[in-house]
Amino acid sequence: MAATMLPAVAAVTRPAISALQHQQQENRIRKTDGPAAQSVCSSSTKLSTGWRLEEIGTCCRNAVKNSSSSSASVYVSSTQQQKGRRGLATWATLTDAPVESEQEKVGDVLLEVRGLCAVVEATGKEILRGVDLTIHQGEVHAIMGKNGSGKSTLSKVLVGHPDYVVTAGTAVYKGENLFDKEPEERSHAGLFLSFQSPVEIPGVSNMDFLRMACNARRSSLGLPELGPLEFYGFLSPKLAALNMDPSFLDRNVNEGFSGGEKKRNEILQLAVLEADMAILDEIDSGLDVDALRDVASAVNGLRKSDNAVLMITHYQRLLDYIKPTYVHIMEAGRIIKTGDSSLALQLEAGGYQALKDSA
């Protein structure tokens, strides 16, 4: 972790202090609930904004993010010994004048996962063992990791899949506790998962399904439902953007779809639901070159300053199209390493072992 964490001396101090502050706040939160948790979010947001101004490598911000976990405190105490005072001074000046650059603006925290542990309900087998992840508006995150490391499980736990039970940790989405919500409420709040293997639903036409989903979201927002014709009007441009043949609408949901067609169909649903936090589990697997370009440009087309994307992928290829702000490496149910897009290149070149050796 340390290797990617110290691009500049000045940078070190900030996480140190913020981490300390976090540590204190954390302690408070443990005792209280709810509102206090939100105050943590907002303070970390502010800090991150400051970091950008100092043009410190993005990886450092991750120290802020990780600060609430127990390992962070060890790191903090050592850095503070060296650079504590100077850091404090910098901190003071910055908080006085938090200037935001137009392009490099970092949005509010959208999703913050802390120490998330989850087991398979049926067997009790632990899959997630303390996942930490913070996603801000406007960001693109990528999670990579070996088969079976828990990437899909993380994404399914976040959307409330009944196969898993959360045993520890929190997930705060848009300032609210995600795990208090039913799966459909999470969807209404704008959370979306493109499944690694979408299920087939014989007997339900894609058109009916999309319209039901769209209208469910609209009624949750207090908007009137769309009739069949209106909905078709709403849908057509989205179909076109994905280069999808309208005949897909008459077919049953995912039934007999090829691997690539299923992925396109997932992204079509994303487009229809206009989600704010899109988790895309291996949308690149099974796609041919053209399909990958279509899907990636559709995803890019949906990006806005106030939404975010979390991609799970095995290959650099997807990241060439959808540029990640951060790349995380997952192993055995934890995120063990975080960096910028160079991490993925490193991985592509040397595999997971090389990545570990360099750490």
């Binding site: 459909e184 969807s187 299920v199 007997g203 009916d208 039901m212 469910a216």
Partner: protein, 590 residues
């Protein structure tokens, strides 16, 4: 994984080595759902089913198989142990099944034959069935008094059928074929054969029939109505009409050969025989060689209100209730390289007691293709009994889509005989059994020639505690039927506590180079599908409704004609809504 689907057994049989071994795979399954509330989970019945399997090995294999897609048709190495379980899986307890597995069914196929042969008929002239004789003579008398529908061919048909009837007896639950299907109540009821026309009392427009551009045949109480039928826009050469109205030459060429042997084909089925005795008409559809009928032919069967009304409490006491009996009969012949799509729609006067006892014979010649949609929406108190005989010559194709909703009792005996190689046969059935309804499908496909392909999908929803579904699906792959590719799947959805199905999909394989799979599942809704809906923001209640609806829609989507599908859609929605399983406004379509 907490999957809700219980695939009771998946059998994949493939006998790769040349051996004389015959295998009867009969996935035992069954079950009455004891659910605490609607939409609640039904537990899997794995341990219980495993006890039926002969060996630990089988159980093990089954466990591995249970999650696999049922129709995956994988070739498997030869199965050396013969699984012989011909017993039905009974609804109530594991003990009963466990006990029966040691039963007398060790010899599989041959015993099966025996069971089949003894099932309905039991020819024992020494003990004539008085009720049946009484009924047959009542039918004869009514014909003599009724409209004059005299015709030589019909007379011959009746004669032959009367003779066959003498050798039959009324089935009881001791007959394998009627073990779960009670027809005793008809013995207690008053049966009144309809012998007069009530054409005027019926307006087909009142049924809100789908707009059909094709031709239309309308049976009223078993007799073709000339005024309501419309057969003018058929391709040249196609002959459609009552036996008395079609050219003598066509009768000689197409009808007479088919007439003899009616009794054999029906395997002396008592209801088929009664149909022959009481047939007031024989309607014929002949598509000569090389003719393609592009628009579907719509055949409507209407039972008028000549029985007693069913709305009052009189239904409860069956002695007073009288069922108006009609015996429609249809013969369809499709020549070489010809094509025909036709829809059969069974309907009737609402709130009225009737018994529709129909027979349909379908002959498909070389490379002929028949698409057959069958919709049964008779009154909830009606009795619907039906025999369908299909014979398929070389390279012909027959696709049946069946949707069954109405009737207190509905029973369909479907018999398909392969007469040449390279045939394609598809049977898709959806049955919805609600309050006090029993729906029964007995299908039998006999393959005697190489390279046949067959697919059967049987789906049944039982939506009420007093509802009951019965399925016996037999596919027989005989010695010469090498390289057969046969798949069979039965899926059953029990929505209410004590709802019952008895299903017995079974493959008998005597050929040794075949690819066959079959399976049966008693399930609740699929958890993974339910979650997919919820993950897209659709609440659990709506998702369940949609999934219950889609369970049937998978089959109903194959019905011929958008208008028909639309009508069936509202039928399904209304009957599911009536029992509280879905909101009829739900935006799902077929």
């Amino acid at each position: 994984m907490a999957a809700l689907s219980a695939i009771a057994m998946v059998g994949n049989a493939s006998l790769g080595s040349p051996s004389n071994c015959s295998a009867v795979l009969s996935p035992p399954c069954n079950v009455s759902a004891e659910k605490q509330r609607r939409f609640s989970r039904s537990r899997c019945f794995f341990p219980f089913v495993a006890s039926v399997l002969e060996t630990k090995n089988e159980a093990e294999k089954y466990r591995k198989d249970k999650t696999r897609s049922v129709l995956n048709n994988r070739r498997r190495p030869s199965i050396t142990s013969v699984v012989t379980n011909l017993s039905w899986c009974s609804t109530s307890s594991a003990a009963e099944i466990g006990g029966r597995r040691h039963g007398a069914y060790a010899q599989g196929a041959s015993l099966r034959d025996q069971a089949e042969a003894s099932s309905v008929s039991l020819v024992s002239p020494s003990t004539p069935d008085l009720f049946l004789l009484d009924l047959a003579s009542k039918i004869e008398d009514s014909l003599a008094e009724g409209d004059d529908l005299g015709n030589d061919v019909l007379a011959r048909l009746r004669e032959e059928a009367t003779e066959a009837t003498l050798g039959c007896r009324w089935p009881t639950n001791k007959d394998e074929a009627y073990r779960f299907t009670d027809v005793k109540f008809l013995k207690l009821a008053n049966i009144v054969p309809v012998n007069s026309s009530s054409e005027s009392s019926f307006n087909p427009e009142s049924l809100n029939l789908p707009e059909s551009e094709g031709s239309r045949l309308v049976f009223i109480d078993g007799v073709l109505s000339k005024t309501l039928s419309r057969v003018d826009n058929l391709p040249e050469g196609v002959i459609v009409g009552s036996i008395s109205s079609i050219p003598q030459e066509a009768v000689r060429k197409f009808v007479l050969p088919r007439l003899s042997g009616v009794a054999e084909r029906s395997q002396r089925d008592v209801f088929a025989c009664l149909n022959g005795v009481g047939a007031r008409d024989l309607v014929v559809v002949i598509v000569p060689a090389g003719v393609k009928v592009t628009k579907p032919l719509y055949v409507l069967y209407y039972s008028s209100s000549q029985g007693s009304p069913s709305s009052s409490s009189s239904v409860a006491s069956s002695e007073n209730s009288s069922y108006a009996l009609s015996n429609p009969r249809l013969l369809v012949t499709v020549g070489k390289d010809s094509e025909l799509d036709f829809v059969e729609d069974f309907s009737g006067a609402p709130e009225s007691l009737y018994w529709s006892n129909s027979v349909c014979e379908i002959e498909i010649h070389e490379r002929g293709r028949v698409g057959h949609s069958y919709v049964q929406e008779q009154s909830r108190h009606a009795v619907h009994i039906r025999q369908t005989y299909v014979s398929q010559v070389e390279a012909s194709s027959y696709k049946l889509v069946e949707a069954v909703f109405g009737g207190r009792l509905s029973r369909h005996n479907l018999h398909i005989q392969q007469l040449g190689p390279d045939t394609v046969t598809e049977m898709s059935t959806f049955l919805l059994a609600g309050r006090k309804q029993l729906h029964d499908l007995h299908s039998k496909l006999v393959l005697d020639h190489p390279r046949g392909i067959s697919r059967q999908l049987h789906k049944c929803i039982v939506s009420d505690s007093s509802g009951h579904g019965v399925f016996d699906g037999n596919v027989r792959v005989n010695r010469l039927a090498q390289q057969t590719d046969a798949g069979q799947l039965s899926r059953n959805l029990l929505l209410a506590p004590r709802a019952t199905v008895n299903v017995k999909p079974n493959l008998q394989i005597i050929a040794n180079d075949v690819k066959c799979s079959h399976g049966a599942a008693i399930s609740d809704l699929e958890e993974e599908q339910l979650f997919y809906f919820r993950a897209r923001g659709i609440d659990a209640m709506t998702a369940r409704s949609a999934l219950v609806f889609s369970f049937g829609a998978e089959v109903l989507q194959k019905l011929e004609g958008a208008g028909l599908r639309k009508r069936v859609e509202s039928l399904v929605k209304n009957s599911l809504a009536e029992e509280g399983y879905m909101n009829p406004e739900l935006a799902v379509t077929i």
